[in-house]
């Protein structure tokens, strides 16, 4: 498993949603961050794709509901790339 730095991820999420980084925790989601609405989610997805140089599928975008899941998905993508 390839490790994704949590602080780096939190900073990227905070910047994409225009919120202070201390508002983003591992269990943060659309329920805890008001800016994380459907439009915020689109911005977040595009920002993470650019930041981590990857691309998400529709299924992944729908599953990315909280910070912990996003990390898992990103780590999964890195591992599968490293495995190739």
């Amino acid at each position: 498993m390839t490790y994704i730095d949590m602080d780096e991820l939190k900073a990227a999420i905070a910047s994409a949603l225009h919120v202070p980084v201390d508002q983003v925790a591992e269990d943060s989601s659309g329920r805890t961050i008001p800016q994380w609405d459907s439009i915020g989610h689109m911005n977040l997805v595009l920002a993470l794709e650019e930041r981590f140089n990857t691309s998400f599928t529709v299924e992944e975008i729908m599953a990315m509901r909280d910070v912990a899941t996003i990390r898992t998905i990103l780590e999964g993508k890195r591992s599968s790339r490293a495995g190739k």
Binding site: I39, M42, L46, V58, I61, M62
Partner: protein
């Protein structure tokens, strides 16, 4: 505060944030209203909708074909030709019905997106053309219908998609959120809307100031000499030649051109007059500052000479240090980066904010008028006194009630006039028409000529006559006719009309802006009295009994009036 409404049958709110950020960063400020999916059409057709209550100044209508005719590309090729025509008409009708409803219910300027054509469909080359050609014809029909609706403009989304690339169509967000535009396309569309916004708000550039060496021609005149510089139809001259041709076309359209160059005046003029490969000639330039002075000083001179504020000037120079210097000294001047390669010079002109919504006769004549003005200034410099200069100028003013074919020029005057503009109401065609149609109001247009030539329609006044009071709503003069006391001619025409309407009193307001100081004391100079001496930045009312007004200084003007 300018009021934007964005309407779309898809998700459009991500564009609101971009739009606000762009406008805020330019410090103009705006309020946005946004309606998406089915709500967009409800807002258009419902009585008392939030959209109507919002009273937008501008509505951008962006309808996606997928929402109007889902999956059209997959079945259209199998329909009969008659059925295809019918479908095309239905699509056009769908959009036009929305636009016409907005036109009737609001006074906003309307920006309507056309439909993008995908570069290829799943049906392959043999059938591709059927959907594409239908869509192209749809866009053509839509555009010709939109052109007949007042204050309505087609936004060429098809062209924007071509620029962004079809890969920007993000299928994931189309599936997830009906948001087919990727970030690049979103930015292009917002930028395109802003071009219209700036044109409506008078925030466009009117004047291009160019350097000479390595900008209009290859080489340095002082070193390479008359024979050594190049702007001919060869690979090394062609970029410069095309740049000159593009500037010439802009001059033809009404953009003012001036030179700001470190060179000897004699040598520079010699090239402009006599070099066989020059495209631009002396008559194309409204001002020439060719000397060894600092370019920022020269720019101030050009701005003063032409009476064009730095916020309306673009400066084009191949030298990066001159550009940096100009940006520091004149932050309001637009100084785009110039490419290292002259073959790309023309592309810079599309970023110069030169957009104009409509081109009027005045635009075509503008450079000729500035040329005449240069001769006029020389005449003034030689005259023994200002009074004598005015007397010998043989000014003739033609003042008449607004004719329908002058409407575009009237709107343009309202949008562009800043300095001599007492209330700066940026009226639209609709608003001017409603004054024009009222029996208690008048819209006056003034054109001028003198011994050096025509100024064209360059003054506008709007007034109403209610309860024996002549109330001046708008009063403005194009800056190039200032300094000849002809504002009093237009004022006297208003008084004559007021007298015919049995008015005894005349009333007018001065609303200060950042730019209209030159007109601040106009009503005072006419003999009217300020009624409220409030703070310097607020509206001031002036009033006078008409029969008590002093004689206006217009004996040097030959005036003809028809109401």
């Amino acid at each position: 505060m300018f009021r934007w409404a964005l309407l779309s049958n898809t998700t459009i709110s991500p564009l609101v944030r971009r739009l606000k950020a762009e406008i805020d960063s330019a410090k103009h400020g705006c309020e946005c209203f946004c309606a998406e999916y089915g709500d967009a059409l409800r807002q258009v057709f419902a009585e008392d909708s939030e959209l109507l209550a919002f009273k937008p100044d501008l509505i951008a209508l962006h309808l996606d074909l997928q929402q109007i005719k889902p999956d059209l590309e997959l079945y259209l090729p199998f329909e009969t030709e008659a059925r295809r025509d019918e479908i095309r008409r239905e699509v056009v009708e769908h959009v036009i019905t929305v636009v016409r409803t907005l036109r009737v219910k609001t006074a906003a300027t309307l920006l309507v997106s056309n439909f993008p054509t995908a570069p290829r469909s799943v049906l392959g080359v043999g059938l591709d053309h059927i959907f594409k050609n239908t869509l192209r014809r749809t866009n053509l029909e839509l555009d010709s219908k939109l052109r007949n609706i007042s204050q309505c403009h087609t936004v060429d989304c098809d062209g924007l998609w071509a620029e962004a690339g079809w890969s920007e169509r993000d299928r994931r967000f189309e599936v997830l959120a009906q948001m087919p535009m990727g970030p690049k396309m979103q930015k292009l569309l917002v930028d395109e809307w802003l071009r219209y916004f700036r044109a409506i708000q008078g925030l466009t550039r009117k004047c291009i100031v160019v350097d000479l060496d390595n900008t209009l021609w290859k080489g340095i005149l002082g070193e390479d000499g008359f024979e050594g510089i190049q702007m001919d139809d060869t690979p090394s001259g062609r970029g410069f030649r095309r740049f000159q041709l593009a500037l010439k076309a802009l001059v033809r359209r009404g953009t003012i051109l001036a030179v700001n160059s470190k060179n000897s005046l004699e040598d520079g003029i010699e090239v402009i007059r006599n070099h066989p490969d020059m495209v631009l000639r002396e008559r194309d330039f409204a001002a020439l500052q060719i000397n060894w002075d600092d370019k920022a000083t020269n720019l101030s001179r050009i701005s003063n000479e032409l009476n064009i504020g730095p916020q309306h000037i673009v400066f084009l120079d191949d030298n990066p240090s001159e550009r940096t210097w100009m940006r520091q000294q004149h932050p309001e001047v637009l100084v785009p980066e110039m490419p290292n390669d002259s073959s790309a010079f023309c592309d810079v002109l599309t970023q110069c904010r030169l957009d104009t919504l409509v081109v009027t006769d005045e635009d075509f004549k503008r450079t000729q008028m500035y040329w005449e003005d240069r001769r006029r200034r020389e005449f003034q410099a030689e005259a023994p006194s200002y009074e004598q200069f005015l007397r010998e100028l043989n000014v003739e003013a033609n003042i008449q009630r607004l004719q329908s074919d002058q409407l575009e020029r009237a709107v343009q005057l309202c949008q562009r006039t800043n300095q001599f503009n007492l209330t700066t109401h940026r009226y639209t065609a609709e608003q001017i028409n409603s004054f024009s149609a009222s029996s208690r109001a008048i819209v006056l247009m003034m054109s001028l000529r003198d011994k050096f030539g025509e100024y064209g329609w360059s003054g506008l006044a709007v007034a109403t006559a209610v309860d024996s009071q002549l109330s001046i709503d708008s009063f403005l003069l194009s800056c190039r006719v200032l300094g000849k006391n002809i504002e009093f001619a237009l004022f006297s025409a208003l008084l004559q009309w007021g007298a015919k309407q049995n008015c005894n009193y005349v009333r007018g307001a001065f609303i200060p802006t950042a730019k209209n100081k030159p007109s601040a004391d106009f009503y005072g100079r006419c003999g009217m009295v300020m009624c409220n001496g409030a703070a310097a930045d607020s509206k001031k009312w002036f009033l006078a009994k008409m029969e008590e007004l002093p004689i206006l200084p217009i004996e040097h003007v030959k005036i003809s009036i028809s109401f």
